[in-house]
C-alpha cells in the first residue's frame, strides 16, 4: 500500500473523528485528553496508557488521539507528586497505575504522598503472578520449593524483576509465609532489571527459581524452557497457562495479582470522574480489549469506581502489614 494513501486515510479518519459531535449522555465533554505513564517508554505503565488510549480512540469515546506523556522518576513518585501538587483539578487527565503503585504507596516510598490524595478510577485487567523453575529442575511443585527453603534458605535463590520489597519479592514472601517458613526474611531474593532479565538468569542457571508475572514468562512457557510450578491466581488461567496448577490447588492459599488500572487527580469533578469510569468500562467490555488481553497474557479483573477504590485501599493495607512484619518499613 502506498504510504500517501495511508497518510491521507489517517488524516481523513482523524478529521472525521474530530468533527463528530460527541453525542454522549454525559455532562462532561472530554477535550484534549492525556494519559500520564509514570515511567519511560517501554514499561507496563506506558503499555497501559498507549493501549487504552488507542482503544478509546478506536471506539470514538474521546475526540482525536489521547496524548501519552512519559513522566518518569521515583518509581512513579514523580508523576504522583506532579498530579497531586500541580494538576489536582484537571478533568482530562488519567494516570496509569499498577500493583507497583499501591506497593510503593503502602511502603511510604512516595515521600509525603498517600493513596487518598487521588481518585482511583478502574482496573483494566490483572497479570497474575507465577513461580517457575528451569525445565530440568528437580523441583515440580510449590510445596517442594517451599520445603527446600524451609530446610535451608541459602540453597534457593529466587530471581525477580522488581527491587527488594517490590511486588515480585512480596509474592514469594506471602507464599513462604503460607507454607510455614518462620522467618521470611531469610528467603533469598535477587533483584534484576525486569522480568526478562530474571528469566534469562533462570535459564543461565544462576538462580533456582523465578517470580514474576504470567505475561513476562509467556514466551518461555510456550517454548518449554521453563516449568511453571504455581500460578498465584484464584483459579486456573485461560489459554496457555491452563495446564499449570494454582497455588491454592497445592494447598497454599496465595494470590498475587499485579493489577493494571488508572487513577485520576483528586480534584476531578464528579461528572468527569463518572465519564472516565464509564469510558474505561466501555474499553474493558470491548472485543478489542479482550483480544489485547488475550495476546498479552492479561487476566480479567474488572473493578470500577468505588469498587476499585476499596480494592486499592485493601491491598495498600495488606502490603503495609506485610512490609512491617518483614521489617521493610517501621
Amino acid at each position: 500500500m502506498d504510504i500517501l494513501v495511508l497518510t491521507r486515510r489517517a488524516l481523513v479518519a482523524g478529521a472525521f473523528v474530530a468533527a463528530l459531535p460527541l453525542a454522549t449522555a454525559f455532562a462532561f465533554e472530554p477535550g484534549n485528553t492525556e494519559c500520564i505513564a509514570p515511567a519511560n517508554p517501554g514499561g507496563g505503565w506506558d503499555f497501559t496508557c498507549r493501549q487504552v488510549g488507542k482503544t478509546l480512540q478506536d471506539l470514538k469515546i474521546i475526540p482525536g488521539t489521547m496524548q501519552v506523556t512519559n513522566l518518569a522518576g521515583g518509581g512513579g513518585g514523580v508523576a504522583f507528586a506532579e498530579v497531586v501538587n500541580k494538576r489536582n483539578a484537571e478533568n482530562n487527565l488519567i494516570v496509569a497505575a499498577s500493583s507497583a503503585t499501591s506497593t510503593r504507596l503502602a511502603q511510604g516510598a512516595y515521600p509525603g504522598n498517600d493513596m487518598s490524595q487521588v481518585r482511583w478510577l478502574a482496573s483494566v485487567g490483572a497479570d497474575y503472578g507465577v513461580i517457575a523453575v528451569a525445565k530440568d529442575s528437580p523441583i515440580n511443585t510449590l510445596p517442594e520449593l517451599m520445603e527446600m527453603i524451609r530446610k535451608d534458605p541459602a540453597s534457593v535463590a529466587i530471581a525477580g524483576g522488581s527491587a527488594v520489597g517490590g511486588w515480585d519479592h512480596l509474592k514469594v514472601l506471602i507464599a513462604a509465609k503460607a507454607a510455614g517458613v518462620e522467618d521470611v526474611r531469610t528467603v533469598k531474593y535477587v533483584a534484576f532489571d525486569g522480568g526478562g532479565e530474571a528469566v534469562t538468569q533462570l535459564l543461565a542457571g544462576s538462580v533456582q527459581a523465578f517470580t514474576g508475572d504470567a505475561s513476562e514468562a509467556k514466551g518461555f512457557v510456550d517454548s518449554g524452557d521453563i516449568k511453571v510450578i504455581a500460578v498465584l491466581a484464584p483459579e486456573r488461567l485461560a489459554g496457555d497457562f491452563a495446564a499449570f496448577p494454582t497455588a491454592r490447588e497445592q494447598g497454599l492459599d496465595v494470590i498475587g495479582a499485579n493489577w493494571r488500572g488508572f487513577y485520576v487527580p483528586g480534584g476531578m469533578s464528579d461528572e468527569a470522574y463518572d465519564f472516565w469510569v464509564k469510558a474505561i468500562g466501555t474499553v474493558y467490555d470491548s472485543a478489542e480489549w479482550k483480544s489485547i488481553m488475550a495476546a498479552n497474557g492479561i487476566a480479567p479483573l474488572d473493578l470500577r469506581g468505588d469498587d476499585f477504590q476499596a480494592f486499592v485501599k485493601q491491598s495498600v493495607d495488606e502490603i503495609q502489614a506485610l512490609s512491617k512484619e518483614i521489617g521493610l518499613i517501621k
Binding site: 514499561g43 503499555f47 514523580v78 535477587v190 533483584a191 526478562g196
Partner: protein, 513 residues
C-alpha cells in the same frame, strides 16, 4: 541455505514502496535525532511510536520505521561528537576522543566520512551476525551470570587507565566521581534510597543523558560565555579548514583492522543484555588503543580512534537485537522500547518468534540491510553539509546548543527538575575542565558503575557473600585475567613509550580543554 531463502522472503516483504519510504524517513529522522545532544535512539524511537500507531501501520512496516530510526540515530550520534565535542548520545561518547581533535586539525570531513564508513561496516556485519548466529548467540548470553557480568565491567574499568588523560590520577578521580554519581537512587537489593535527600526525583538515579548533556554541552556554553569577547573566535569561522569529504584511500586501509576489531567487540557487547552499545564502543576503543596505538597518537586525532568505537557502537545496535528477538530480553534502552512496541502489536518476542512470526523477523532484518545502505548513501554526501556547522560563529552556535539541550532533556522526562540537574552538571563540567580533569571517565562511571554494582550485589546474594563465587567459572576467570593484563601491562610496557607520549602531549594543540 534455509536461512538465505528466508532472508530472500524478507527482502520481498521489505522491498515495497511503502516500506522503502518508511525506511528512508526513519533513517533521515534517526540521523538528526542522533546528532542532537540529549535526544538519543531510545527517545527517537519512543517519539515515533505514536506516529506508527496513528498511521495504522501493521507490525512489519512499523518495525521497519522504528529500527531505521534506531540505526539512523547510531549513525547520527557521531556528528556532534566530532564537530562540537558533544556526544549526540551515550554510545558516541568515545568518538569525541579522537573525532574532535581531528576536526580541530582541519580534518572534520575525513573524520565524518571515515566514521560513517565504520558505522556502515559495523552495522552491516552485525546484521549478518544476526542472520546466521542469533540462535547460537543466545547461548552465549546464557553463559553470563551476575559474577561474569561483574568481571566484564571490571575489565572495562581496568583498561580505563591512561585512556583519556595524560594524568592517570585525574582519570581515576573522574571515574570515581562517576561511580559515586551512579550510587544515587533506590538500591534495588535492599530497597533503601541512597543520597536522595528525600527528593523523589532522585529515586531512579541520575539519567545519564542528563549527565552527558550537562557535562559536555552546557559546560561548553559556559566556557563560551567565559571567553566571549576574547580573541574574537567567531571571526575566523570562514577560515576553518573543513577537510576532505572523501577519506583518502590510505586512511581507509589504515583503519580496516580497527573497524574489524571494533565490529567484533561491539557485536558481542550488544548481544549481552545489560552491556549494550556504550560498553561496546568503549571496549572497542580501549582495546584498539592497546593494540594499535604504538606511537601514542590516540586521543590526538587518530582516524583509527574514530573508526573503532563507531564500528563498535553500530555493531552493538545489531547485536542488541539478538536477545530482544530471540529471548524477549532487551539488551539496551532502545530495544526495550522496541520490545514494548512489539508487545503492543500483539507479537510476543521470545524463543518461538522466529517460528511464529518469520515474516516479521526476516522483513525486519532485510529492512536493516536496506536501511544501512541508505544511511551510508545519505551520510557520505551529507558530510559536506554537516561540516559547515563549524563555520557557524560560536555566538550563534552556542545559544542553539543550549536551546537544543534544554528541549531535548525536557522531552525525555517532562520534568523541570532534570533541567536543574543538567545545569548542575554543566557547572561541574566547567569546573572539571578548568582543573583539566577528563569528562569521559565520569560518564563511564555513571553508565557502567550502576550495572557493575548491581551484578556484584546479585552475585554476592546468590553465593551468600562468598567472594570466591566471582571466580568460579572458566569465563569469569578468563575475563579477570584479561582485566589484570589490561591493568598491569600498560605501565610496564609504557615505560618504553613514555618519552614519545610526552612529546605528543606537548604537541597536542588539539586538547579539547
Amino acid at each position: 541455505m534455509e536461512t538465505l531463502a528466508a532472508l530472500g522472503d524478507g527482502f520481498w516483504i521489505a522491498l515495497t514502496i511503502q516500506n522503502l519510504g518508511l525506511a528512508l524517513t526513519g533513517c533521515f529522522l534517526g540521523t538528526i535525532i542522533g546528532a542532537l545532544p540529549g535526544l538519543g535512539p531510545s527517545n527517537g524511537v519512543a517519539i515515533l511510536i505514536p506516529l506508527a500507531f496513528s498511521l495504522g501501520l501493521p507490525a512489519t512496516p512499523a518495525l521497519i520505521l522504528l529500527t531505521s530510526v534506531y540505526y539512523g540515530a547510531m549513525y547520527g550520534g557521531r556528528i556532534s561528537s566530532i564537530l562540537l565535542n558533544i556526544p549526540g548520545d551515550e554510545p558516541a561518547l568515545m568518538t569525541t576522543l579522537d573525532g574532535y581533535p581531528m576536526a580541530r586539525r582541519g580534518q572534520a570531513g575525513e573524520a565524518l566520512a571515515i566514521s560513517g564508513l565504520a558505522s556502515f561496516v559495523g552495522a552491516f556485519f552485525a546484521t549478518w551476525g544476526l542472520v546466521f548466529l542469533a540462535p547460537q548467540l543466545v547461548k552465549l548470553a546464557l553463559l553470563f551470570g551476575p559474577a561474569e557480568y561483574f568481571a566484564l565491567f571490571t575489565l572495562a574499568f581496568a583498561t580505563l587507565g591512561g585512556l583519556t588523560s595524560r594524568n592517570q590520577a585525574k582519570s581515576a578521580f573522574a571515574a570515581a566521581l562517576g561511580l559515586g554519581i551512579a550510587m544515587i537512587g533506590v538500591d534495588g537489593q535492599t530497597g533503601v534510597p541512597r543520597f536522595t535527600f528525600g527528593e523523589v526525583h532522585f529515586y531512579d538515579g541520575i539519567d545519564f543523558l542528563v549527565a552527558i548533556v550537562g557535562l559536555f554541552a552546557i559546560s561548553e556554553v559556559f566556557l563560551f560565555l567565559e571567553h566571549r569577547g576574547e580573541g574574537d573566535k567567531g571571526g575566523d569561522g570562514s577560515k576553518v579548514k573543513l577537510g576532505r569529504i572523501v577519506p583518502p584511500l590510505a586512511m581507509i586501509r589504515q583503519t580496516t583492522g580497527s573497524m574489524t576489531r571494533g565490529t567484533l567487540i561491539g557485536f558481542v557487547a550488544g548481544v549481552l543484555p545489560g552491556a549494550g552499545a556504550s560498553l561496546g564502543s568503549f571496549v572497542a576503543y580501549s582495546m584498539e588503543k592497546r593494540i594499535a596505538d604504538r606511537k601514542g597518537t590516540f586521543g590526538t586525532g587518530d582516524p583509527r580512534g574514530v573508526a573503532a568505537p563507531e564500528a563498535g557502537n553500530n555493531a552493538a545496535a545489531g547485536g542488541a537485537l539478538v536477545p530482544m528477538l530471540a529471548l524477549g530480553v532487551p539488551g539496551s534502552g532502545t530495544t526495550a522500547v522496541l520490545l514494548a512496541m512489539l508487545l503492543a502489536l500483539n507479537i510476543t518476542p521470545g524463543p518461538l518468534l522466529f517460528q511464529q512470526n518469520p515474516d516479521v523477523v526476516w522483513g525486519l532484518i532485510a529492512a536493516l540491510f536496506i536501511g544501512n545502505l541508505m544511511l551510508l548513501a545519505m551520510n557520505l554526501p551529507l558530510v559536506g553539509l554537516f561540516v559547515r556547522v563549524l563555520q557557524i560563529p560560536p555566538r550563534f552556535l552556542m545559544p542553539a546548543v543550549a536551546m537544543i539541550s534544554f528541549v531535548g532533556i525536557y522531552g525525555i522526562s517532562g520534568s523541570t527538575f532534570d533541567l536543574k540537574v543538567m545545569i548542575a552538571f554543566g557547572v561541574m563540567g566547567w569546573v572539571l575542565r578548568k582543573l583539566d580533569v577528563p569528562l569521559v571517565p565520569v560518564i563511564l562511571g555513571v553508565l557502567l558503575g550502576d550495572q557493575m554494582e548491581k551484578n556484584l550485589r546479585r552475585a554476592m546474594t546468590i553465593s551468600d557473600g562468598d567472594i570466591w563465587a566471582l571466580f568460579a567459572s572458566p569465563l569469569s576467570i578468563t575475563l579477570w585475567s584479561l582485566a589484570i593484563i589490561g591493568f598491569v601491562l600498560p605501565p610496564l610496557v609504557g615505560r618504553y613509550f613514555r618519552p614519545k607520549i610526552a612529546d605528543t602531549a606537548k604537541a597536542e594543540g588539539a586538547d579539547p580543554d
